[in-house]
């Protein structure tokens, strides 16, 4: 019996050699598969179907080491923002060409996902009610939820994005830390817009990752900004900024009032680890 088994194994050797030869001949370095060896749990957030759309086989996922394969020329940007994982799933009513491509990016923090959303949304995109914040443009929908940034693109005009995005949003983990990103910013009068500056808000080298809220109060427009962390470092940067710009600040209580010939009067202060400021504020507007 053992002899027969040995014979079969020996007989298989040429076949094994042929298979190895064929694999070697068809080797294409461009086809090296960097993908994760196991399916990321994040794939569970993509529904099997939504409305008329059904999930197509062959989901893809990418990490920092191969993100450039999918986001050509833009990978460094995402990685610089704290990218961790991208999952890509395609949808269509029936097997064949995709009608919709759904991408979900996981970042190291919610603020990073928010920053990417603000950078990536089209100029003409309109805000819609989905996830933590969402925008819809021509054939494109993007939203954030916790540290996740999702982008859905309709390759076919018939592809319905909102229903699918809603389903993905419902399935995404409700990660801890999904607090209101803007909660540290005062909410007075009427909010005109909320924004994000990845670096050098208003040309201030120390004001990176700044959250902003533009308000209208008593017929005046003003804008608060918030630097979520590194307050003491921001204060040192603020003082260097004043020196560079040859400007002075007056200390009013725990706050600084800046007399700026180009921006008008503005304020800067610390609140524990956060740094805040306001352009256009009167003292009575400050929290």
């Amino acid at each position: 019996m053992q002899q027969a088994r040995s014979f079969i194994l020996l007989a298989l050797l040429p076949l094994l050699a042929l298979a190895l030869y064929w694999e070697g001949q068809s080797y294409d370095p461009g086809l090296i598969d960097f993908k994760l060896s196991s399916r990321p749990a994040l794939l569970k957030s993509f529904p099997p179907e939504a409305g008329d759309l059904k999930q197509l086989p062959g989901p893809r996922w990418f990490k920092k080491d191969n993100l450039w394969e999918y986001v050509n020329g833009h990978a460094d940007y995402f990685i610089g923002q704290g990218f961790e994982l991208l999952t890509v799933v395609e949808y269509a009513p029936e097997p064949g060409s995709a009608w919709v491509v759904a991408e979900v990016y996981r970042f190291d923090q919610a603020l990073a996902a928010f920053g990417v959303l603000m950078d990536e949304k089209g100029e003409t995109a309109r805000a819609i009610d989905l996830g933590k914040m969402a925008f819809m443009g021509q054939g494109e929908l993007s939203f954030i939820q916790g540290p996740f940034y999702a982008k859905l693109v309709a390759l076919d005009k018939r592809g319905q994005l909102k229903k699918l995005a809603q389903a993905i949003s419902e399935n995404l983990p409700q990660a801890p830390g999904t607090q209101d990103l803007f909660q540290g910013l005062p909410k007075l009068g009427k909010t005109l817009s909320e924004g994000f500056a990845a670096e050098a808000y208003r040309g201030m080298g120390f004001a990176n990752q700044a959250l902003t809220r533009r308000l209208e109060i008593e017929g005046r427009e003003l804008e608060f900004f918030l630097l979520p962390k590194g307050g003491q470092k921001a204060l040192a940067g603020f003082q260097q900024y004043l020196e560079d710009a040859q400007m002075k600040a007056e200390k009013v209580g725990s706050r600084y009032k800046v007399l700026d010939p180009f921006e008008g009067e503005w304020w800067f202060w610390l609140n524990q680890e956060q740094a805040l400021g306001c352009f256009g504020c009167l003292e009575k507007d400050l929290p």
Partner: protein, 395 residues
């Protein structure tokens, strides 16, 4: 970045004040632009240190720059909200004292250069939109942007340089008073000097903007002489030879001044544009205005070159090519390495490298790297080719 790592600013100092309506002296920094130069035959005089408005964060930075004497502002439709911020500052600027340059581009994110085949009306609409955003009724210069970026094929890009619809639109815009001069810019990566020379010799262009610094582009001085002869103005860009300056252990601040002064010592160069994203950038950069290039500056640049020079294959050189017995396309291979490392075009670089034959694969076992003796810049060509092959072939 390696793939594996990937994996892992006299006499004219009043000009600035005049450019800014009603700004108090106390607003000014300690340093100002002190030198302005004639821009070819345009009749314009631009500040030697001028304002690159890519990534412009606020209108106030434009006002600060104008108050410091900068009078030339270089923007584009595809520089994000740059034109909007310039428009935000416009009401407080004396338009006649400002030289405003924008580009024939469409859309808000870079790159959106209008390609060959674009209709005349589209060029006109692009300028009209720029004027609306900038809140002004004319541009001093409009650029055909980034020549050599859309195609590595010289003839294809040359078509963009002399596209009839673009030239016709330019003529109409000039007649309407919406633009004053036509200009062209290029930072390569392909055929920069040759394409700009075509522009200079054509008579259609009043200004060129080449990438020019002490590290790369050895053929630019010849281009500058040709431009001077034809009365074509020159504004330089990419003068800092890459962001690696930030990684210098010492004297990083002086480095920017030395690099600027090196460019400006070329009399054909009227001025340079450098991206100013912060108030700190602005007040630091303008300190170089009107300053002479010194021995100390040369030492600073030498330090930089000795640290980084061995990594730069000069665009358009190719002196090593004929020296290779195996006919390896060295310059082309290293250009694709540049796409990968400096332009963030990883996939394009890998695909393009795969089409080069013979490529760096032939260098792996080479025992007579005659290319290194042929390189006028002393680059370790074999090592660089091995690196290119490692990064670009995924081998």
């Amino acid at each position: 970045m390696k793939r594996r790592e990937f994996i892992k600013t006299s006499a004219l100092s009043g000009v600035g004040l005049a450019a800014l309506g009603g700004m108090p002296d106390s607003a000014l920094g300690a340093d100002r632009i002190v030198k302005y130069n004639k821009l070819g035959n345009t009749g314009l005089e631009i500040s030697d240190i001028s304002f690159g408005a890519g990534k412009l964060p606020a209108s106030s930075l434009v006002l600060r720059a104008a108050a410091a004497g900068i009078n030339y502002f270089d923007t584009a439709p595809d520089y994000g909200r740059s034109e909007d911020h310039i428009g935000g500052a416009m009401a407080r600027l004396n338009r006649a004292e400002i030289i405003l340059a924008s580009k024939y581009c469409d859309g808000r994110s870079y790159p959106n250069h209008l390609p060959v085949g674009t209709k005349k009306q589209k060029f006109i609409e692009a300028v009209d939109t720029s004027l609306q955003r900038c809140k002004t009724d004319y541009l001093d210069l409009v650029f055909v942007h980034a020549m050599g970026e859309l195609s590595e094929n010289f003839e294809e890009e040359k078509q963009r340089l002399f596209a009839e619809e673009m030239l016709s639109a330019t003529e109409s815009l000039k007649k309407a008073g919406k633009i004053k001069h036509l200009a062209v810019s290029s930072h390569g990566p392909d055929n920069m000097e040759a394409l700009l020379l075509e522009a200079v010799n054509s008579g259609y262009y009043d200004v060129i903007m080449p990438a020019f610094n002490f590290m790369k582009f050895p053929k630019v001085p010849d281009l500058l002489k040709a431009a001077k002869k034809k009365g074509v103005g020159v504004v330089a860009m990419k003068t800092l030879a890459g962001a690696k300056a930030l990684e210098l252990d010492q004297g990083a601040q002086d480095f920017a001044h030395a690099a600027f002064k090196w460019v400006l010592k070329h009399q054909e160069v009227a001025g340079l544009v450098v991206t100013m994203k912060t108030v700190g950038n602005l007040y630091h950069y303008i300190k170089a205005s009107g300053q002479s290039f010194t021995q100390a500056d040369q030492r600073q640049l030498d330090r930089y070159a000795s640290r980084w020079g061995s990594q730069y294959c000069r665009t358009g050189c190719n002196d090593c090519g004929p020296a290779c017995a195996q006919g390896v396309q060295i310059a082309k291979s290293l250009r694709h390495l540049m796409y990968f490392q400096d332009y963030g075009e990883e996939k394009k670089a890998i695909q393009g490298y795969a089409e080069i034959s013979p490529n760096g694969a032939a260098c792996q076992s080479c025992e007579n790297p005659s290319c290194e003796a042929a390189c006028p810049h002393g680059l370790p060509v074999k090592t660089m080719m091995n690196q290119a092959h490692q990064d670009l072939s995924l081998a």
